[in-house]
Symmetry: C2
Subunit: 235 residues, 2 copies
C-alpha cells in the first residue's frame, strides 16, 4: 500500500517571503483529509482534521476555512494511523525523543497525531502580510504567542528526515487545535499530560511545486540563509 | 496537467553503500518510459528510452534489462518533451549554461533529452559489488571510464534544484546511450557537435523511499559526508 505525504510548496520559499497563495483549499483537499499549512501572506496557521480545515489567525481566532482560501505551503495526507499507545507526563522534548525511539524511521517522512490533555501549551500564529511580503524572519518577529495552562485537543505533527531540511522542517513540525477551539496554532512548546498517540509512515513524498508562480520560478535562493531562518522561525 | 518525476531511493543512500535492489524494473516502468538509475550493488548505469531499459555494465557492455532486475536508485517519468531547438558546437559546460538560461526553471526538477552527434564523449560505469557493499567513494574509485572521439546517440539528463541536493544531484545528472550501442553510461564529459534538444518541466517530485529495507530504515546518515561524496562521485 502506498502511503503518500503530499506537500505543496517548500519551507524554503517562505524564507524570502514568496507568500502568494498558489493552491486552493479545494485543490489541497483532493490529496488528503489531515494536514497543516499557512495562508497567503502567512495568513495564520492551518490544521486539517477529518477533512475539515481550520485557520488559527494572527489574533488566535479559530475559524473554518473556505474552499477558495489559498496557501503558499501545506502538507496533507489521507489518515491511516496506527496506534502507538497512551503516553503520559512528558515534556515536548521527552515526547519527541520517545516517538523517535519508538517509531524508528529517521530516514522517511511520517506523521504523529496525539489526542489528549496538554499543559503549558504555547502556540503562535502570524498576521497576514500584504505584498511586498515580509520575509519569514520578519514575520516570525511579529508573531503572536498564545498560551494555555491546560488544553484538551489534537496535536498533529509531521516528521521530516534531515536530508529534506529546507524542503520541509527536519524533525517534528507540529500544529494544535483545542477541542473547544480556545487555542491553536503552530506549536512552540507543551507538556503532555496524557494522550492517545498514533503514527503513520509514508513511503512517498509527493512534492508539488508552484510552477505557475513566476516569483517562485525566478527566485535566486542562493542568497537566502535557509537553514538559519527556518530553524529560527519554526522551532 | 501534472508532470511527475518519480524517484526511487535517494542519492544519499548510495553514499554509505546501501545498495540493495529495492525496486524491480517491472515496478519502476509503471511510473514512466524514460529514466536513469543503477543496479543492485551499483551494477552498471541504466538508461530507459521509449520504455526500453538498457544497462551499461562495468565492462561497458550494453544490454537490455530484465523485468526482475532490481535497483537501489532510479529516476523515471513519462516523456512529454517540448522542443528547444537545435544546438551546435558547445562544450558540456556551455551546453548546461545555455540550458539553464533558456529553460529558466532553477527551482524545479526538469529533464533534458538531446539526440545528435557528440565528440570527446567520456562516460563511466561501475562493476557490481557484493555485500558488504562498497561506499560510493570506493565504487567511484574503481569505476571504468569509456571514451569515444565521435558518437551519435541520446543524452538524457535530469536537473535538480540546489535545495534537493543529497536527495538527488543538484544541477544536471546525465546518462548516454549510443545509437549503435557502442558506448554509454554515466556522462563525465562531452562536446555537442549538433543535437535536437528537448526539455520537460516537472511540477511534482514523487519521492519513493525503500521503507521495507531495514538497512535503509535504520541507517544513521549523520556520519556520512553526503555532499562531498556525491559531488566527487557524480560529476
Amino acid at each position: 500500500m502506498t502511503e503518500i505525504l503530499y506537500q505543496h510548496g517548500t519551507l524554503a520559499l517562505l524564507v524570502p517571503g514568496l507568500l502568494t497563495g498558489t493552491i486552493s483549499m479545494q485543490s489541497l483537499l483532493q490529496h488528503g483529509d489531515t494536514g497543516i499549512g499557512t495562508g497567503e501572506g502567512l495568513d495564520g496557521e492551518l490544521i486539517i482534521l477529518d477533512g475539515q480545515p481550520y485557520q488559527i489567525n494572527g489574533q488566535g481566532q479559530i475559524q473554518t476555512v473556505a474552499k477558495t482560501f489559498t496557501m503558499p505551503f501545506a502538507d496533507i495526507h489521507w489518515a491511516h494511523y496506527q496506534p502507538l499507545g497512551t503516553l503520559q507526563n512528558l515534556t515536548s522534548t521527552q515526547l519527541y525523543q520517545h516517538l523517535t525511539h519508538q517509531i524508528q524511521a529517521p530516514n522517511v517522512f511520517y506523521s504523529v497525531k496525539i489526542q489528549g490533555q496538554f499543559q503549558q501549551l504555547k502556540t503562535r500564529s502570524v498576521n497576514r502580510s500584504e505584498p511586498p511580503y515580509a520575509t519569514l524572519t520578519q514575520a516570525a518577529q511579529a508573531q503572536h504567542v498564545f498560551q494555555a495552562p491546560q488544553a484538551t485537543g489534537t496535536l498533529l505533527s509531521y516528521y521530516a528526515p534531515q536530508l529534506f531540511h529546507g524542503a520541509a522542517v527536519a524533525g517534528y513540525h507540529s500544529h494544535f487545535l483545542a477541542a473547544d477551539h480556545s487555542i491553536g496554532g503552530h506549536v512552540l512548546d507543551f507538556s503532555l499530560v496524557s494522550g492517545q498517540v498514533e503514527f503513520q509512515i509514508f513511503d512517498t513524498l509527493q512534492q508539488h511545486f508552484p510552477i505557475d508562480n513566476s516569483d517562485y520560478m525566478q527566485h535566486d535562493f542562493a542568497a537566502d540563509e535557509l537553514d538559519h531562518a527556518i530553524r529560527k522561525a519554526e522551532s
